[in-house]
Symmetry: C2
Subunit: 340 residues, 2 copies
Amino acid sequence: MTANSAFVRATRGDDVPHVPVWFMRQAGRSLPEYRSLREGLSMLDTCQRPELIVEITMQPVRRYGVDAAILYSDIMVPLMAVGVDLDIVPNVGPVIASPVKTLADLAPLRPLEASDVPYVTSAVRDLVTVLGKTPLVGFAGAPFTLASYLVEGGPSKDHAATKALMHGSPDLWHALLSRLAVISAAFLRVQIEAGVSAVQLFDSWSGTLAPSDYQEFVAPHTRAVFTALADLDVPRIHFGVGTGELLGLMAGTGPDVMGVDWRVPLHEASRRVGGRPVQGNLDPAILLAPWPVVEEQARRVLASGRRGSGHIFNLGHGVLPQTDPDQLARLTEYVHNWKP
Amino acid sequence: MTANSAFVRATRGDDVPHVPVWFMRQAGRSLPEYRSLREGLSMLDTCQRPELIVEITMQPVRRYGVDAAILYSDIMVPLMAVGVDLDIVPNVGPVIASPVKTLADLAPLRPLEASDVPYVTSAVRDLVTVLGKTPLVGFAGAPFTLASYLVEGGPSKDHAATKALMHGSPDLWHALLSRLAVISAAFLRVQIEAGVSAVQLFDSWSGTLAPSDYQEFVAPHTRAVFTALADLDVPRIHFGVGTGELLGLMAGTGPDVMGVDWRVPLHEASRRVGGRPVQGNLDPAILLAPWPVVEEQARRVLASGRRGSGHIFNLGHGVLPQTDPDQLARLTEYVHNWKP
């Protein structure tokens, strides 16, 4: 039902009636209806209740009329589901009870089964019915980004412990990322089998790495995730922040579409990823400026995206919590009406 | 006395007997002798006591035998000196009492006079005597990075308020950065007149900007700083983190040497900055790995640096507080003994 949607067509580089648009973190803290629904509920509890997943996923679709929904979940959900002791702490992020230091610490990272995340299967099935012709995007965290939380014990500015382990204990590092690749791929497969129309693999923090480190310590494991999904005919998007120097290497791991942050103009990004379709890349902070600024910057993004071969409009990172939803509504309308 | 030092020669792209090396934040929290000296003293108090500035600046020079000392100070010192109400909070960073929101908030940002920072003049004079043939590097924060603290009120992950003000109130933005450029240039001039052999302008957070924003809202003000120093025959280094996409634009503001973080190999950085000498760029996190890893990565940096025209070895960002000083001692020796 979604194969002919503007979003899915754009992931293949096919002609589209309008540039499709959705927003990373379109569901979440910027929406008052989300904040009121979440009152008194933890993030991880919310992610395990299918009726809430459906409602939260639908909120921005109803509000904005975006071209794709993105499943409400968190990159830490599959780790929690296999038994890693973790929490998502408000205003902090994921916190791991026992950070990974030795091979023994990998024991909890067993392969994920669909039965570990029944709430995801259930929510995706319901969403696909409700969404009809609007595609649903599933997602997972990429091995490096998941590993960074497991090693650091939480969010990090410099990822120093992660890099020290990567270089100092390469066997442990590769064992860790191999296990995470299996979990990420399985989590995406569950979502695809339940009916999502596309998936996005978030390697949010890969941009912290030197290209040589990325190539040696990360790319093989990201590639393993994409390869594990190769039998499924579903477009795969890949994204990280600050990845200007890595775009070619990341594209080489096998995604169909590359997400790009605001630091690289889309036509240049398109060149770096070998002509694949690109997704992005308005700086989310721009949405805090008055509308004429948003319009001007969105026009630039659209003009630059047009010079590649396939463009899905998005932000260059997630919607900031302080964003006025009316700006996103207006932006969605602007993108839909934009003509080259 | 320092004009023929390896460091100063390298800033001009001249032949050097060995690759010169120093480390951003070589003076500071990674050194036990620094931590014990700082006990019970605030950062800003310490920065105003010439005898402490001298001692802290000298600590890493004595320990490592690096090719340059860097003045112990903070980019917020000149703002404090003109009367901005701010503090540097341990484990947080600079905190501004009244963030900039309107033109009226610019009133405290008057031009800096040498008499506002007598402790800097005094410390630099004493250091130059003690250091002899070892060059002393002075420094200041660039207008954008200073503005980001003044607008956000403290450190920021996304610099959203800064970007919103930049785009939403461009007149206020340019007025703010013009004033900061005057202060930065004056702070550097004080240091140069007191005897530093080179200066480094830190635009630490400029890498958060899209190139078009950098060009429109930042480059003219950084250029004003370098232009204000053009009558002084002192090498000027410029540096920011995550600036791969900006290197050419930053080099275009007028520095003699470009600092580079670890994300761009030096030979590629050298190309992007039009063949200027480059400074960098070992990932500071590498120093947390065992020595053979440090050696291997340092060798790569040196080999890449050799392919440009002038290389000062440094890290790609400041020394991390948890770094073992023995690693830096060994690294200094390794760089000094390295032969192409």
